[in-house]
Every structure is written in C-alpha cells, then in structure tokens.
Amino acid sequence: MQAGTAAAPWAVELDDATVAFRLADARVYTAVEQARLSVAHGEFVAIVGPTGCGKSTLLNVAAGLLKPAAGAVRIFGEPLTGLNRQAGYLFQADALFPWKTAIDNVAIGLEIAGASRTDAHDAAQKWLTSVGLGAFAGRYPHMLSGGQRKRVALAQVLIRNPKILLMDEPFGPLDAQTRQIMGNLLLELWTADRKAVLFVTHDLEEAIALADRVVIMSAGPGSRIIGDWRVPLARPRDIFEIRLEKEFHDLHREIWSVLKDEVMKGYAQSAQSVEALA
C-alpha cells in the first residue's frame, strides 16, 4: 500500500508540522516538533504515545482545529486552510448534543448540509441500526450508557461519509469489554468502505489490534515521531482473538521496548511539573 505518488496523493500528510502554544507568562510551549506523517487512502494508522505527548494536538492539526506554527498540512494533496471538510472527528469526551435525541444527533450532519428532515431521519435510522441502536432513536444522550453514546457518536460522524476519520482516544472512557466490542464494530464499519483513519490512543494493544500502521511519539514537550511499524496481521481481524497470536506478541514486545522509555520519561516530566507547581 504505497501511495503518495502524484496520481494518488496521501489522504493526510503532515509535513514537518510544529505546534506551539503561547503560555500565560509569554513563554512558548512547543507541543509537537517537526512531525512528519502520511496516511494513505484506506489506511488505518494509530498514533501511540505517553500521556501529554501531543497526540491529540497532532490530530487537531489534521482536523484544522489547530494551525501549525511551522510546516504544512496537506489533505489529498491540497494545503489545508481552515477546517478539514473531508474529515469526520470522533472526540474523546462526550460531544453529542445533549438536547437532541439519538436520531436527531445522527441526522444533524445531513440536515445542516441541506438534506430534508425526512431523508436525514431515514438515513439516521439506518445508521443507528448499523451501530446496533435501532431501538434507541428517541433516547436523549443522558438516557444512554457510555458505550451507547459512543455508538451514536460514531454514527453521527459516519453518516456524512467523510473520506478521513480522525479519532481521539474515542473508546478511552469505556470499560475494557466495551472497548473491545467497539473496536470490532469500528473495524466492521471501516471494512465496508475503507476510509483513511488516524486513530490516537495510549493503549498499544488497541493500536496493534486495529491498525495497519502504528506510529510512536516521544514524550513531550517538543515531542517527535520516533517510530513507525507496519502491522503484518491479516484482516479481517477479531480483536478478542488477535491478542492471542504470536505475531501480535512479537510486535507488541518490539514496539513496547521503544515506547517504554518514553512512557517513563513522560511520567518523570509530569512528576517534575507537579513538583514545580507545588
């Protein structure tokens, strides 16, 4: 799957993107330094790194929610200006509109694009059914469990049929079993029409189980991309089963040997900053 030629440009391309924030005391905090990352059409890339390494920052840059201080972002070969209209974004926190029912939450993406209410609702009902919530259309988000809310959020993003899917630890707040079920659901939906996926997580196992490629980031500040592994596991995969395979373990051990140092550094740094604050 080697894309990137002139004929088929990368779906997402970060070209030496550097992201910096101005702190309250006028110092500049560099979150991500010269990140170079490309995601091909239909490729599932997972970004893994220690807490506070700027994984989400990188995702926000690809979404157009943040502007890089230096470097370029290209979406299908075009420089990104403003929001990334080709992308759907699945947030870590609850992002559903609490005042809309499940079906209204899913339909809204089509409605604001100009679809009629009936059409939007028909499509939304289909999407709710395909994420297993066909019978919950009339529920408000607070009446749904955390996993059900994530399913609605997934349908809300996918109904617009974005070419790129950006996911920021989407299953982070869920319990272990629900995460695996959601992972399988995601793979199932993704297999239907392979979108380019950029999936941020701190869970290496989840990353290997889901992705085609696993990208490792160093501890912040000024974190960089320090590793890029291809996952040789066959598809279709079952997340419950795949963790038992030898190839999975070998790759996990290999990546973990690199990631472990960064995780320790990340911890040490956050401990220091806590001391500095105290």
Binding site: A63, L65, L83, R85, A87, G88, Y89, F91, A93, D94, A95, L96, F97, P98, W99, K100, T101, I108, G109, I112, A113, Y140, P141, H142, Q156, V157, R160
Partner: protein, 262 residues
C-alpha cells in the same frame, strides 16, 4: 411514607395551625386572650372574607390585573434578558465595557425604583410591569449569558467538524444551551415577576392583589390583609405548578430536570 400518609400529615399541619390560631384568638386562657383579634384576626373572619371576595366576584378583577402584570413583566424581562445575554456573551468587549454598570444596576434594591416608575408611567399597570421587568431581566440575563459562555468546547468543536456554519452553531448549539439555563431559572424568574407586580401595586395603584392588601391595611382590617395573603399564596402556587408542567415539557433532555421533579 406513602402518598396518602404524606398528604394526611401535610393537612394535619394546616389543621393544627389554624386550630391554634382560632383557639388563641377567641378563647381566653387564664383569663386573657393571648392573640388579640384586633392584631391577629381569626381564621373564621379571614375565611369569610375570602368567601365574600369570591362570591361577590370582586377578587377576579384584581387577580386578573396582577396576573396580566406578571405575564407582561415576565415576557418583556425574558425577551430583554435573552437578547442582551446573547449579545454580551458573543461580544466579550461589549460585556467588559458594560460589566460595572450591569453589576451596579443589579445591586440596586428594586423597591426604590417603584416611585420613579410611578412618576414616569403613572398609577396604571405599566409602572408595575416595569418593576417586574427590572427583577426578571437580570435573572434571565445572567443565566443566558452563562449558558452561552459555558457551552462545552467539545460540543462546539463537534458542531464545527460536522460542518455547521456560525449561524447553524447559533441555532443548534448556543441557543439550546442558553435556553436550558434560562428554563432552569424559570421558577425564580416567574416568582420575581409576581413579586414585582404585587410590590408595585402595594406602593401605589388602583387595582390588583397588592392594592387589596394595602387597602385592608389602611383601615386596620387585619382579616382583609390575611385574606389577601392567602389568595396571593394560592395564586403563586398555581402559577408555579404551571411552570413545572412547562419545564418538564421543555427540559426532557436534561438528566436532573427529568429525574428530580417528580
């Protein structure tokens, strides 16, 4: 406690209080009446006064006027509060400039404005409406302002990523959020609309519940004052019940509103 039991206990409180009141104002204990009827009246007199008001029909005119004043005060105050709350929240610079004056105006005890309003707007309903508006406006204003300010950043980003324009964000995100804050203060703001109307009437008018109470007080008709108070309480409770019904309709999506008020 079962519902029936609860109702029984609640009624018991009323019976005991009214019974004691009647007893202490009519039957001498150790040779003297503990609550002189001149100051405390007695339940029978108060009750017959209420019955007289309703049977002759005089009360309806006063109730209608107070209700109308409250509704106008609530409507105008809410509209103003929503408009300004939205405007200030979306224009931080405007909000910063006006901030000290808003605080100043809100700190002012509204009763002192009543004479001014009477002077400006006369003894009719509008001076009472104006007083109610000054009370309702600030409650709604602060709630809407807060509602727009405290829209979750994630929900906002989600709206943007789903392709919403600024106008659509307004309609689908800011507006429902602001309204929910406004409705959560509905009981308070409706209550204040009534307070504004009644206090205004009390301080100078020719009709309304406040006028009725003030008139009775002016001729030392204590039974009339108490009767007016009871009618007023019943009136406020009825309005509050109405608000609860409206609130339950509008805030079904809120976990606390749906659960706690049952």
């Amino acid at each position: 406690m079962s519902k029936l039991n609860l109702l029984f206990c609640q009624l018991l409180v009323a019976v005991v209080i009214i019974g004691l009141w009647q007893l202490l104002t009519t039957v001498p204990i150790f040779g003297r009446i503990l609550l002189p009827p001149f100051f405390f009246s007695n339940p029978v007199d108060v009750g017959s006064q209420i019955v007289a008001w309703f049977s002759t029909g005089v009360i309806w005119k006063h109730l209608a006027i107070t209700l109308w004043e409250s509704i106008l005060a609530f409507a105008i105050g809410s509209l103003g509060g929503v408009a300004f709350g939205f405007w200030f929240a979306r224009q931080p610079r405007v909000a910063a400039v006006f901030d000290p004056y808003v605080k100043m105006a809100n700190a002012l005890p509204r009763v002192v404005l009543a004479p001014i309003f009477t002077l400006w707007l006369g003894l009719g309903i509008w001076s009472k409406v104006a007083l109610g508006v000054t009370l309702v406006f600030f409650i709604v204003f602060f709630n809407v302002y807060q509602g727009v300010k405290e829209v979750s950043g994630t929900v906002l980003s989600n709206g943007r990523m789903l392709g919403m324009s600024e106008r659509q964000l307004m309609r689908h995100v800011y507006w429902p959020s602001a309204l929910s804050w406004m409705f959560s203060s509905l009981h308070t703001s409706v209550g204040f609309a009534v307070v504004g109307a009644v206090v205004g009437e009390y301080l100078g008018s020719a009709a309304g519940l406040g006028y009725l109470i003030q008139q009775a007080e002016g001729v030392f008709d204590v039974a009339g004052v108490f009767a007016g108070m009871f009618v007023l309480s019943a009136f406020v409770i009825l309005i509050d019940l109405g608000v609860t019904v409206v609130e339950r309709r509008l805030l079904v999506w809120r976990p606390d509103a749906a659960g706690s008020r049952n």
